[in-house]
């Protein structure tokens, strides 16, 4: 159990280090695409050397995954940034070539295509890494550890260039930084994470760990360093929650880790500060109350000048005249009261001296914050 968790955690770290790169380059589905493209390599390797479970299959898989990712990257350039179309064109081609070769050459051998799709974390610890007869733990964990160390080293060496590559590759090219090299590096790094982890996890858990934690982190921070750290942390949290859930209810481990990552990401979309849905609804509500309060301030002053405040500036009068609801009038008046711009006297809203100055500045359009208000009150419309 601990070993399964270890494999999951290391994969989460690997995915956490590559996920943000894919997310920022808008290419998260590369995980899905590469894991389908692998079939071409498996097919060709099987054609040349028809033995199931040979290391040649693994090598062919890795090579064709890399090849597909590289072709997709090049094609994205040719299609002027249409990464979705490039991926969608490349991976079915590779998958079909593999399926054709296997159908012609290996139709009576048992090489299960379905198994590739679901992944099997439960049995991933069965393959051991042995050195001189001593058992040093599961092979999959050592593979992932190697990749994580390599990723950390590469990230440490090319940290500045990586930022340039992510946010402004043209600028990087002008500065003479190795952008083309970084592109290949990113392709190789992501593909190696994908290829090495997917026979343990399956492509779907892989996409879950690439997308879910990355999206979490993106809604929590706007800085690149914390982005990577938060992604790794969210990935580890998903693995922990997922394995716990799977143990408690006896579920498929890969599936429940994926589900945990998905739910954590959805929770972040709801609750995140600044970008989350709840926060934005609250903000929209606040902006609406502020707008109503300003409307009220100007309106009551105008009626005070006319002298008919006794009939107009009541709750009912304001409600009917400005076509507001009772609640909105109350909230707007509260806003004014809190800033001592107006007070209720005998059920009539009366503006104070400060309130009159405020209303005058609003009516004359001198309020500096007035220009921003249009932007704020549009929020509710875009939320619908």
């Amino acid at each position: 159990m601990l070993e399964i968790f270890l494999i999951g955690a290391l994969s989460a770290i690997g995915c956490g280090l590559t996920g943000p790169v894919l997310l920022l380059r808008r290419r998260v589905l590369l995980g899905d695409a590469v894991s389908h493209s692998v079939l071409a390599g498996i097919g060709i390797a099987f054609w040349i050397h028809p033995v199931v479970n040979s290391p040649w299959l693994r090598l062919g898989a890795a090579l064709s995954g890399c090849c597909a990712a590289w072709v997709a990257t090049k094609l994205t350039g040719i299609l002027r940034g249409r990464a979705d179309a490039a991926l969608g064109l490349v991976f079915p081609l590779f998958f079909s070539i593999g399926a054709l070769i296997l159908a012609i050459k290996a139709s009576n051998t048992h090489l299960d295509v379905d198994q590739v799709l679901s992944g099997n974390l439960e049995s991933s610890w069965l393959e051991r890494f042995r050195l001189g007869g001593t058992d040093l733990g599961p092979q999959a964990a050592w593979n992932m550890l190697l990749i994580v160390v390599a990723l950390l080293a590469a990230g440490w060496i090319w940290w500045r260039d990586l930022q340039l590559y992510l946010f402004d590759p043209q600028q990087g090219q002008i500065l003479g930084r190795p952008m083309a090299f970084l592109e290949i590096l990113v392709v190789v790094a992501t593909t190696s994470v994908i290829v090495f982890s997917f026979d343990a996890m399956g492509p779907i858990l892989l996409v879950a760990l690439l997308a879910g934690p990355g999206i979490c982190a993106w809604f929590l921070t706007s800085q690149i360093g914390p982005f990577f750290l938060a992604t790794v942390a969210a990935g580890l949290l998903s693995v922990l929650a997922g394995t716990g859930l799977a143990c408690a209810l006896d579920l498929n481990i890969a599936g429940s880790i994926g589900l945990a990552a998905f739910l954590i990401a959805l929770g972040t979309l709801l609750m995140a500060p600044d970008h989350g849905m709840v926060f934005r609804l609250l903000q929209a509500n606040r902006a609406r109350i502020r707008f109503v309060a300003r409307l009220l301030a100007v309106h009551i002053c105008q009626h005070e000048i006319k002298g008919d405040q006794a009939s107009e500036n009541t709750r009912v009068g304001l409600r009917d005249h400005l076509k507001l609801s009772e609640k909105e009038v109350a909230a707007g008046a509260l806003w004014l009261q809190a800033r001592s711009l107006a007070v209720w006297e005998n059920q009539i809203l009366v503006s104070t001296h400060a309130g009159k100055i405020f209303a005058k500045s609003l009516a004359e359009g001198q309020d500096s914050t007035d220009g921003q208000m249009g932007g704020e009150i549009q929020r509710p419309a875009s939320l619908m």
């Binding site: 808008r26 998260v28 589905l29 299609l79 879950a208 599936g255 990552a261």
Partner: protein
Amino acid sequence: MTTPDGAVLFACIGAGLLYGLLGSITHLRRQSLRGDVLAHSAWPGVLVAFAITGEKSPVVLALGAFVFSAGFGLVITWLERLFPRLKGDGAHALLLSGSFALGSVVWSLMQRHMEGLGQAGLKSFLLGQAAAVQWPDAWTLLGASMLAGLFVYSFRRDISGILFDRDHAFLLGQPTLAVEWILDLFLALGVVCGLQVVGMVVLSALLVALPLAVRPHTKSFGTFVLASTMLGGAIGFVTPWLVIFLESSFGHPGKGIPTGPIFVVMATLVAIASLFGPRFNNKSVATGIGVRR
């Protein structure tokens, strides 16, 4: 040379027409991978439908699949509107993995609680079984393409509005969100109709490759949609003949050549040839592919 089976021929033509049409619109919405995502999200739907009814009839399973993939499609559209950061493929990847993880969890629950559960009817639902195509499958695909064609033709103004300038269309009072959601429903319908017949990979390949093959040659919305649809139909017509030709020249007895992968390879090769080959419309040479001048 023998002729191909009629059901297979018409199913291929129907699939080509349907995915050429739907693909041209998903391409212009910059969401080429949505078909793939919706196909994956049908998986928990199939399982839930089977768990509730205990039947493996294609209609029940298709209904479950449609409910789930339509639901996930609508959620993707809504999330992308709500959170601009999820544009590109963030929302797609999130819901793809979420739905498939849900499917695996439901599957492991079912394996524990339901007796005598064979994988047979359920997995082939996802991967397609082109060899066992019947006439009803062909009629379903042709009918779905007719329906989608009718919708696209009658709402062509609203659709081109949301494709090219959504804010302007919104200001003109066109029902942008409603049309987007109906388009999502049609894509889900198309995906579910084709899932059992051609399978997930063929379907997502056609959705991407057919519009890409046509895109360099035209700048008009109507021509683009029509040409992509017709190209799909033409490739669908050629594929079964090609399969028979290949089987008679290279096939071994007892080892058939599968139709699906040949369909994919054909469509992809046409797309690549048209991307790198000469253009029919000389005006679009300078502007390249997929960008406005």
